[in-house]
Symmetry: C4
C-alpha cells in the first residue's frame, strides 16, 4: 500500500491529544466509553478496513476532514457566571416541531455495514432523544421500515438523479411514509475523490440491498457488488441548477432544505429562492479537500443579513461544547454524522443511544458552565474573537 498522504502531519497533531485506552472487556465496552473519541477508536477496531475507509475517510488528504473538527477547538470561550443555571432546557424546534436538543442525525449511506440493524437501530436511538433522523437516499432499510420506529418524522436526504422519475418516486415513497422534509444535497454534482476508498474498495455482503432505490424503480440486481458504488456515483446529475429547486417544489409540498452550501453568494441566491433552512456543510470533508471547515464557514456568515433563513451546521461536531459554539455563531442546530456510525458499530441501537446521550449531557453541562439555561439564550458573547 503506497498511500500515506498527510499522515505524518496528522499523526503528530493527534499524538498531542490521543490517550492510549487501556484494556477493556468487550462486554463492558459501552460502560467504559465516556466521550466520542473513545467511540471512534473502538469502532476503528471493530470495522473492516474497507468499511472504515468508506465511513471515516475524506476527500484528498483529509485536510478539511480534520479541520472540520479542529476548528471547534480553535474557537475559545469566555464563560459567564452566577446566572442561576439550575433549571435548564435544551429543547428547541426544527421545521416547527419540538425536539429534545438541537441535533439531527446526518444522512449516511449503507448503515447496515456498521450493524445488521442499520438505520432501524439508528432511528430507534434518535427516537429516544426525540430528534429527527435524516435518512439517506442510499439507506439500506426502506423508508417505511425506518419510519415505523419513530414518532418524530424522519427527513429524507435526496440526490436528484439524472433519471427524474426515480427522484420523483423517492419523494413519493418518503411522503407516503410520513417524512417531514426534504434535504437536498447540493454539493455533489460529482462524487468526491476519496483516496482511502480507492485503496480499500468496499466489498458488500451478498444480501446487500438499497431498498429505497430499488423501490423507486432502479434495477440494481444485475450490478455486481464491486461496481455498486461507482454505479451510484454515476447516477448523480451534475446539471442541477436553481431551476431544479423550483421543479422539486412543484412536485412536493414538503419543506425543502439545502445541504452543502458554503459560499456567501449562494446564501444570497438561496434567500432569493425563499429557502428557509440551509445546511452549512462540506459533506463531512468528503467532496472537495481544502474546502473551508464548516465552523469557519459559519463564522464567515456572521455579518450577513439572514432574514428568515435558518442555518444548520454539519461537520466536525464531536463534543457538546461544539454544539454550543455552533449555536453561539448563529446556527439553529447541528448535524452529527460519523460518531453515530461509531456508536452503531460498537453497540448497535444502544451504542447510538449512548453517543447521543453523551452529546446531550455535554451540551447541557456546557450551557450551565457558560451561564445559559435555554437554547435561545446562547449567543456570541461567550465567544472569544482574537484581534
Amino acid at each position: 500500500m503506497l498511500h500515506c498522504g498527510g499522515l505524518k502531519k496528522r499523526l503528530i497533531r493527534s499524538l498531542m491529544q490521543l490517550k492510549v485506552p487501556s484494556t477493556i472487556r468487550e462486554d463492558d465496552l459501552l460502560n467504559n466509553l465516556f466521550d466520542l473519541k473513545g467511540f471512534e477508536l473502538a469502532a476503528h477496531n471493530k470495522l473492516s478496513k474497507a468499511t472504515h475507509a468508506f465511513f471515516a475517510g475524506g476527500a484528498g488528504e483529509g485536510i478539511t476532514l480534520n479541520e472540520n473538527v479542529s476548528a471547534f477547538d480553535d474557537l475559545k470561550l469566555l464563560p459567564r457566571i452566577l446566572r442561576d443555571v439550575q433549571e435548564r432546557s435544551l429543547s428547541t424546534t426544527l421545521l416547527n416541531e419540538r425536539i429534545d436538543f438541537p441535533l439531527l442525525i446526518a444522512p449516511m449511506a449503507f448503515q447496515c455495514l456498521a450493524h445488521p440493524e442499520g438505520e432501524v437501530a439508528t432511528t430507534k436511538a434518535a427516537q429516544e432523544h426525540n430528534i429527527p433522523m435524516v435518512v439517506s437516499t442510499c439507506s439500506t432499510c426502506s423508508f417505511e421500515e425506518i419510519k415505523v420506529q419513530t414518532t418524530i418524522a424522519p427527513w429524507l436526504q435526496l440526490y436528484i438523479y439524472k433519471d427524474r422519475e426515480i427522484t420523483k418516486n423517492l419523494i413519493q415513497l418518503a411522503e407516503a411514509s410520513g417524512y417531514k422534509g426534504i434535504v437536498l444535497t447540493v454539493d455533489a454534482p460529482l462524487y468526491g475523490k476519496r483516496i482511502n476508498e480507492l485503496h480499500h474498495p468496499l466489498t458488500l455482503p451478498l444480501d446487500f440491498e438499497i431498498k429505497n432505490l430499488q423501490n423507486a424503480g432502479l434495477n440494481l440486481k444485475d450490478i455486481p457488488s464491486s461496481k455498486l458504488a461507482s454505479t451510484l456515483a454515476s447516477l448523480l446529475d451534475p446539471s442541477l441548477t436553481w431551476n431544479d429547486i423550483d421543479w422539486l417544489r412543484s412536485i412536493t409540498g414538503l419543506p425543502l432544505i439545502l445541504k452543502g452550501i458554503m459560499n456567501p453568494k449562494d446564501i444570497q441566491i438561496a434567500q432569493v429562492h425563499d429557502i428557509e433552512t440551509l445546511i452549512i456543510s462540506n459533506h463531512g470533508g468528503r467532496q472537495l479537500d481544502t474546502s473551508l471547515s464548516a465552523l469557519e464557514t459559519l463564522k464567515l456568515m456572521r455579518g450577513l443579513d439572514k432574514g428568515k433563513m435558518e442555518f444548520i451546521l454539519d461537520g466536525g461536531v464531536r463534543k457538546g461544547v461544539d454544539i454550543l459554539k455552533a449555536l453561539a455563531l448563529g446556527a439553529k442546530a447541528v448535524m452529527v454524522g460519523r460518531p453515530i456510525l461509531w456508536g452503531l458499530a460498537v453497540g448497535g441501537e444502544d451504542g447510538v443511544k449512548k453517543v447521543l446521550a453523551i452529546l446531550k449531557a455535554e451540551l447541557d453541562l456546557a450551557m450551565a458552565l457558560c451561564g445559559y439555561t435555554s437554547i435561545n439564550q446562547i449567543n456570541e458573547e461567550v465567544l472569544y474573537f482574537p484581534g
Copy 2:
C-alpha cells in the same frame, strides 16, 4: 482492548520514553530538581494513576489545561538594561497584608492524597515564605489544624452548597480559626467533565476524612468511598446568582473574592457589586475545556477601566517569569496550584518549600534581568505585542 494502530502506538511509546526519568536516588531527589517541570515528572512517578488523574487532569481533552501553560511562553519579553537592580524586593500586599512575594497557594482538595500531612505541610511551607494559603472547602485537614501552622492567616475557598446552613457553618468555622478572606468559587455551578477521572476513579483510603464538611454538619459517614466525589459534586448549587453574593456579605464581614471570572461583562457586574478582588481563572482547565487560557483572558482586560478592583491570575504559572508577565499585564498576584501538589507528593513540606523557593528565586532573577527592583515597577513596557 481498544487500540489505535501499531504505528501510532509505536510513536506514542517513543514520546512516552521522553518522559520516563532515569534513576535518581530517592533521598537525593529534591536536590536534583531545579524547576517545576522536574517536580511534575517526579510526582507523576510517585502518585497512583487515579490520584494523578484527579490532581493533574483537566476537563475534556485538556486543551485549556495545556494552553494555560503555553500562553505564558507565547508572550515574549523585551528586557530593560542598566537600571541598578542590586537591591530588589519582591514584597507586596494582598488584602492589606504584607507578603513575601505575589503568590498564593491555590485551593486544592484532598491534599492528604499527595502526602499524609496534607494541607498542614502545605501551610507550613507557605508560612516560611510568608504567603497565604487558600484552603479548600474540601481540605482533608480542619481549618483549625491548618491555621495553627501559620501566622499569616489563610483564606477560605468556599463553595455555596445547596444546603445554605452548611455553607454558613463553614464560614463560621473559618472565621473562628482566624481566616482572612473568602474566595468564592463562581465557575462551578456543576462539576466539569474530566475524562481522566472517569477512566481512573479515585479510591480513597479507609480513614479518609473531609473534616471541615463534617464539622459543618454534613454527614459523610455512610457514603461509600467510591461515591464520595460524585456526592460532593451533587452538593454544588447551580442556582447561584449575584444575589447570593449579597447574602454572603450579610453573614460575614470577611473580604469577598470571586474566583473563576472570565468574561469582561461579568467584570463589569462585579464592579457594580463592589467586589474588589477578582481571580481570573478557568479552574485550572478543569471545568469547561476550550475556555480561553487564563493569561489571554487577563490580556483581554488590558483596556478595561478597573477602578479599585484588583486581579489575581490563576492558571498555568510554572516559572518565575510567568509571574512577572501576569504582573506586567496588570495582575496584583498569581495563584499556583498543581505544582504545589507535585512538591507535596515528592517531598512533603520540604517539597512545597522547594517549589516555592524556586518560583521566588526565578521571579527575583526575572525581575533583575528585566530591570525591575520592586513589584510595583513591573509594567507592560517589557512585553512584546506583535502587530
Copy 3:
C-alpha cells in the same frame, strides 16, 4: 559516525516507517497509484539515492521546497453550487495555441536518469494530453528527437551561458526543430546550494550525453562524469541584465517567457520590457531557500495592474485543486515538474501519462465541485481570504 541522540533516532525511525510502502506487485503498480503522493513514494523506492537527491532535493533545508506545496493546502475554498456543471471544458490557450488543460511540463534536466527513454517518453505523454513540454537546455535527448514525438510544439528552456555563441546555437537548434517559445531562466545567475546533492553526488552512466549542449558546440567529452554537474553550473552567466533580454530578442523571433520572477518590482520592469508571459517561480525551491512560496508570491500580485501580461505559476502543484487555486489567483496556467519525473521513473511514458491524467481528472472534478464549467470562469470568489 555522526549521530543525533538515541531518542531522536528512534523517533525518526518510527516516522520513516510511515514512509516504507508495503509490497505491491511491480506489474500492478501503476494501477494502484491514485494520486501524485503515491507516485512520489514509489519513485523514491525506485531511484538511486543520488538520483533521487538530484531530482527531489531543494536548496538549504528545503523550507521553500516544502512551503511551495503546503501553501496550496493553506488556501481554503468556498465552493459554489447548483450551476449546471455537466458539460465542462478544461481547454485553454497558451501562446495562442489551444491546449487540453492549463498545464505545462516544467523544464527538468537529465530525464534519462529517471527512465532510459528520458524526454522522449515525457513528450509522448504530454502529446497525448495536447500540452506543451518545456525542454531543458540540459535535456539528454536532442531537441529534434523530442520534437518528432509531438504535434504541439515544445518550448525551449534556456540558460544564457557565458559563451553567447553556444546560447545562440541552442536557440537555432530549437528553432530548426520548430520550437514554439523561449523560456529564459532568470533566477540562476549561480547554482543554488543543494545540501542533498552535496551529500549524494550524482554518478552518471558511461554513455551519458547532453546532446543539445554538445550539438551547440560545447565539448563535454573530456569532462569526467563526476565533474559534469559543477562544469555545467560554472557555465551560468551571473552578469545577465535586462539588456540581455533585448539581445535575445534581436537574435530570435520566438516569444520570450521569463522563468523565475518573484519580486513585484521586477514584474514592473518586465512590463516596461514588454514581456508578456512571466513564470512566477522559485526554481522549485532549488535556488535560494526561504524564498517565499510560489503560490504566496502569486497572491502578492493580486492588486497589481498586469496589463497584457500573463502569469504562469511554477512550484508545488501536486493536485488538481492546486491548479484551480493558481488560476483563481490569476495564473493563466501552471507548470509541473518533479511529479512528472516520478511518473517517468515509475512507469516511463505510461507513468507520465497517468500522472497527467490524474491531474487533469482532479482539476476537472475540482472545477465541477466549485461550480465552474470552463477555465476562464475560475476566479477569486471561491477562495477564502481570512481576516
Copy 4:
C-alpha cells in the same frame, strides 16, 4: 535525570528538518560537512555532556534559544533578478576598519574546553577571513596570546565586575595588547538560569586557567574547579547603570559597544548617551527565556530613527542567508557564536575556518541570488512582510 522541558515540542519541530547523517570516517569529517547543521551534530558527538550543555544550552526551556534560529527561517525572501551579479564584494567596515565580510566572532568563554588551542585557534581562523574576534573576559588564553595571531585587532568583551579595579585592569591589559573596542555586556546583571548546566555541572581540567582575570588581579587559585562558574557569576555587578558607561569612557578611549540591548526605550537612552554601536542580543537565549528572538527584535527597530547608531545582530545566525536578512533589516553586521565552537570542537583552527568559509560562501551566493553585488545594496525590498 528528570529534566525534559519543552523537549517533546522541540523534537517534533526538529524532526521535520533533521537529516540523519550517514557514517563518515573521522579523518574525512571536515570534508563531509557542508553546512552548520552538520557541524552542530558532529560537535554534539565529540563534546562531553557537560561541556556541550555549557556551550549549547540556553536559559529555561530554550524557547528563545530556538526562536533565535527559527525567526530567520520565518522571514521570507522575494529575490531580484537580472542585475549583473558577476562581480561581488562582501567587504564592509566596522569601527572604521575594513573587514572581509560583515561578521564578528561572538565572545564565548572557556574555548579551550572545545579544543586545546582555544581562542588562539579561533583567532587564527578569524584572521584568515580578516574579521574581528571579540574576546571574552573569560577567555582561557591571554589577550596577548590571542592578539599576536592576528593583524586585525580583536575587541574586548567586558563584564563590569563589582571590583572596579579588576575591570580597569582588564581594559588596560586589552589596550596594551592593541585591542580595538570594548563590547560591554549589559544584559547580565545576574547569571541566567540554565537548566542543562544545573543538570550537568562543568568539571574543569586541572590545568584550567582564566588568564586575563588572573592577570587582572583576581585570585582564582584557591577556588575549586567545581565552584569556578558560580564564583565568576557572583562577581557580576547588578548595580550597573548608564552612569557606569560614563565612568568607562573616562578610563578608556576605545570605542564602546553595548551588547544585549533589546527594548526600544533603551535604544533611545543609548542614543542620548552617544553610543554609536549597539548589539541587539538576548545573550544567545542564555539569560532570560522567552525574550523575543534577536531577529524579531531587530525587525521591531525598523521604524526607529537610528541617527548615527549602528546595529549588530547577535543570535541565531546559522546560514549565509541569515546574514543577508539581518542586513536587509538594517544591521551593519552579525555576530556568530555557538557555530564557531562547533567548528573548533570538530577541527580546531581548520574547523573554525571551514565554518567561516561556509557562512561567507553562503552569504555571497545569497547576495547573488537576491541581485546584490555589494553589502551596502542590501535592503528591505527583498523581504516579504505579510499582511
